[in-house]
């Protein structure tokens, strides 16, 4: 405390301003940029969600309609259809990536020849631009001349309508998203696994634990905090899924792969129901925030447990 006061006084003497002012001066520029780029648009969003309004029809003055945008969206069966679909998509997508990621990370723990090469290759997809990924998978999955069906035919299997058939297209999107983002799970799981001290496994080995018992009682609990963060990231990202759907299927066939975000995009920028889309966006935001809160609370509980309180 005393030391701090001394440095404080030194600061005053040198610059004539206090630590606090100094800190504020550093923060202010970025604060302004944030306010300008996030605060203002967000305020506008909230405001327009209470209006009947389209940016295309500037001649018609925005009309205040209270919560009617919200009630319309929440009463609309189509919206709930999108929610259900997105929920299903998110659950399967995240589960696939989590299981694959943890599994592959488990296998990659041991040092073997070529491990670093494999690791580098595995991490490549994550570094690509989602639009690029969407586009080239769209070509690869093309029913008539895509390479995937070509290979299937070579081994004597029938063609699959990856993107053109309603029941399959969802799984194609999951396939591509998992191809791109499983590496992220692998990376984090691997980091979490490597942080577990080796002597614990030696102790478990001495204690006659099987591989599964070790994984279940040492690896999983000790890497849980990191795995949960990775899961949270993938969950939020999947909930927002837009780019791959946009490039791969365009939400089709029909509306088979329209996620909430894609639905929002259509309402906002194809039909230009600006007011309605604003309300939709806010509802989506609420969902994501509340889901995140659940996870963060769980994470906090875990952290508290780990520090023994």
């Amino acid at each position: 405390m005393k030391e701090k006061n001394v440095s404080h006084q030194v600061m005053m003497r040198h610059y004539g301003i206090s630590d606090r002012t100094f800190m504020l001066l550093f923060i202010l520029p970025s604060l302004f940029i944030l306010l300008f780029l996030i605060g203002y648009p967000f305020a506008t969003l909230i405001r327009s969600s209470f209006y009947s309004f389209s940016v295309l029809r500037t001649a018609t003055a925005p009309k205040f309609i209270g919560v009617k945008n919200y009630s319309f969206i929440l009463k609309d069966a189509a919206t709930w259809g999108r929610f259900l679909f997105t929920g299903k998509f998110v659950v399967i997508n995240v589960a696939v990536q989590f299981l694959l990621g943890v599994g592959i990370a488990y296998l990659l723990q041991k040092n073997f020849r070529g491990r670093s090469v494999i690791l580098t290759l595995i991490l490549m997809p994550m570094m690509l631009c989602p639009v690029v990924v969407g586009l080239f998978w769209k070509y690869m999955l093309n029913t008539d001349w895509g390479i995937v069906n070509y290979v299937l035919q070579l081994v004597g299997l029938p063609k699959v309508e990856w993107l053109a058939k309603e029941s399959i297209s969802v799984y194609s999107v999951i396939l591509v998203d998992s191809w791109m983002w499983t590496p992220f799970m692998i990376l984090l799981a691997l980091a979490a696994f490597t942080a577990i001290p080796k002597y614990l496994y030696e102790a478990a080995e001495i204690d006659r634990a099987s591989s599964w018992f070790k994984f279940r009682h040492i690896t999983l609990p000790l890497s849980a905090p990191v795995l949960i963060i990775a899961l949270l990231f993938r969950l939020i990202d999947s909930l927002k899924m837009f780019d791959l759907v946009y490039t791969l299927t365009g939400g089709g066939p029909g509306s088979a792969t329209q996620t909430l975000s894609f639905d929002l995009y259509k309402r906002a920028f194809q039909y230009f129901y600006t007011g309605e889309a604003s309300a939709y966006g806010i509802i989506l935001l609420m969902v994501i925030i509340s889901l995140s809160l659940v996870f963060i609370r769980y994470l906090n509980r875990l952290a508290a447990q780990n520090s023994g309180r």
Partner: protein
């Protein structure tokens, strides 16, 4: 429970010979201490016995059954690691029952076993605590409890007391010793602390640079070290050494005009082959007799350098033949620094080493 036999064990890492040909026999129920400075291969030997390291060469037998190729879990050993390696996220109770749960032992049996070790180690009030929250002393007891809860055939201890502070270490040392005797489990104990080794071991095996230097009971090693190294390493403080030439019933101390005239006929007879040979003689501090009278026949006269209190005794430093010697004298002997005193070595306790090989000729 079983005896352990290690036969010509070698463990080479890329360019280090960590263990270089060790033969070891531990009788059923004995406590054998592997003692040596750090890097001598004692921990590697233990890890090979545990099955955590695959030996480069050699075999390991438990009760004459070759276990060299078995995994640790198939060997059924209990082990306490240097820093205990408790499962930090588990409660004490789950740490102790871990080996039982891993083997799907029935619940009632687990509870029974738990009760037993809890009463042995007095862990009753700790069961619900997380392992990571325990102080080192408690961690040590939990680690021991975990190691013996499933009745292993052999107990392996890797410097189990080194993380404790001195006072507590001595308490735990005697507790550990009596516990081992009580349950009668074959135990191999690794340490670099010779006092621990002397206090606990039925047999002490002294290692250096991956090989065994000497083995025997604590008394044997203390009284009859087979090398300068062992004499120096054991004892607090260790043995004193000085370079001498033996000539005609007397040791002539190098670099001085002093000599030690022997009276013991037997010793002189045994020394006959070493006439005029360069030797090292060693004597333990407590076998140096001090006389403060001005003129005493057959004694060497030396000057006291420093005096250091050591409990009931005092340690007197002096120089003899360019080496610092320490003698242990009674607490109430009235001497002071700078004083000239007379000393004499107890002839039956003198150890004689070859100066070239530093190995014992007579000890």
């Amino acid at each position: 429970m079983s005896g352990v036999r290690v036969q010509n064990l070698k463990k080479y890492y890329e360019n280090v010979k960590a263990v270089d040909g060790i033969d070891l026999e531990v009788r059923n129920g004995d406590l054998v201490v592997l003692l040596g400075p750090s890097g001598c291969g004692k921990t590697t030997t233990l890890r090979c016995i545990a099955g955590l390291e695959a030996p480069t060469k050699g075999s390991i037998f438990f009760n004459e059954k070759n276990v060299t190729r078995l995994t640790p879990s198939d060997r059924n050993v209990g082990m306490v690691f240097q820093f205990y390696a408790l499962y930090p996220h588990l409660r004490v109770r789950d740490n102790i029952t871990f080996p039982l749960r891993a083997q799907q032992v029935p619940r009632t049996q687990i509870e029974e076993k738990l009760k037993q070790v809890v009463s042995i180690f007095q862990l009753g009030n700790l069961l619900k605590r997380k392992a990571r929250d325990l102080p080192p002393g408690d961690q040590q007891r939990v680690a021991l409890a975990r190691a013996i809860v499933r009745d292993p055939s052999v107990l392996l201890l890797d410097e189990p007391l080194s993380a404790l502070d001195e006072k507590f270490r001595e308490e735990m040392r005697s507790e550990l010793g009596s516990l081992q005797k009580r349950i009668g489990i074959t135990t191999i104990y690794v340490t670099h602390d010779q006092r621990e080794a002397m206090a606990l071991g039925d047999i002490i095996v002294v290692m250096k640079d991956g090989v065994i230097i000497q083995r025997g009971s604590p008394e044997e090693l203390y009284e009859h070290p087979q090398s300068v190294f062992v004499g120096h390493f054991l004892g607090t403080p260790g043995m004193n050494f000085v370079n001498v030439i033996y000539r005609n019933g007397a040791f002539y101390i190098d670099g001085t005009n002093q000599n030690i005239q022997l009276k013991n006929e037997g010793l002189m007879k045994r020394l006959r082959p070493y006439e005029e040979k360069p030797l090292i003689i060693g004597i333990r501090p407590e076998y140096i007799e001090v006389d403060i009278k001005s003129e005493t026949n057959g004694y060497l006269t030396i000057t006291v350098l420093t005096i250091e209190p050591a409990g009931r005794f005092r340690l007197v430093d002096f120089i003899l033949g360019e080496k610092i010697f320490r003698a242990r004298v009674n607490w109430d002997l009235s001497i002071h620094e700078g004083q000239e005193i007379n000393i004499r070595f107890r002839e039956d306790k003198i150890c004689i080493f070859d100066r070239q090989t530093e190995e014992a000729l007579i000890s």
